[in-house]
Symmetry: C2
Subunit: 150 residues, 2 copies
């Protein structure tokens, strides 16, 4: 993902109906640049050097309003102790690397189609499903390199 420049980030915020402050621009940029679905703390540490006055509370408040505005999705990490943030709001699946704790996006229209067909014929009594997300646990083979579907 090529990191958008300040103007584009500004635009993205105002388009979402949010006031484009310096802090929010920096926070949004960090979210787009950091790999593996960062935590609030990781965003904070990434933003801090260039913006020494930004506080952790502000990061949390910004993340909340981004989620409310539909710019971001909250994701639970594998052990359910902290929250992660996903800048891809479309429906997709996740790979969980147990070694690096990264959460890697996995989009696969073929898989979506397969699931859709499967659940078209096989429903539930008393439950109306509206979204499916496959969690795939495993490990990266080379932790420094990226993961790609083959």
């Amino acid at each position: 993902m090529p990191a958008p420049n300040r103007d584009q980030l500004h635009q993205r915020l105002t388009d979402a109906g949010l006031r484009a402050t310096q802090q929010r621009i920096a926070i949004l940029e960090a979210l787009l640049v950091l790999p593996g679905h960062p935590t609030a703390e990781q965003v904070f540490r990434s933003v801090r050097p260039a913006n020494p006055t930004v506080s952790l509370g502000t990061v949390y408040k910004a993340l909340d309003s981004f989620v409310a505005a539909g710019l971001l999705k909250r994701v639970a990490d594998a052990d359910g102790t902290r929250r992660r943030y996903d800048t891809d709001c479309s429906n997709h699946h996740h790979l969980f690397c147990q070694e690096t704790q990264e959460i890697i996006d996995y989009c696969d229209p073929k898989l979506d189609q397969l699931l859709q067909e499967f659940f078209a014929s096989r429903g539930f009594d008393n439950f109306q499903p509206h979204s499916f997300s496959l969690h795939i646990s495993g490990n990266k083979l080379d932790t420094r390199k990226d993961v790609k579907p083959r």
Copy 2:
């Protein structure tokens, strides 16, 4: 699930290599009886009336040792703020009811087979998967009744 009697619960604990205390028997019973994958707090509240001296700390410690002994699995709830416990340790999938916050077990060998076949032909570069879990979000139609696959 028919709630096992005290002797069976006792057995289950010793089989798992755990000392069968009054507290642990009560906690294990609560886990088996409570629907929708309870939190530590829910277990505590369920156990308290009949065992007024059991403390929340003991519940957490018991849950930890149950997990370590393979009697239980930890599950993250939808918003990732608290931990839930699953007495079914086999590989299976989950339905998340957004209204009641229940997590409902969903076993489906046909689905497992489908996923296995799909990922046999479609792998990842630099990622070795070892387990798959489908998260299905939706809502119960009648919140008082059970959900069943059809």
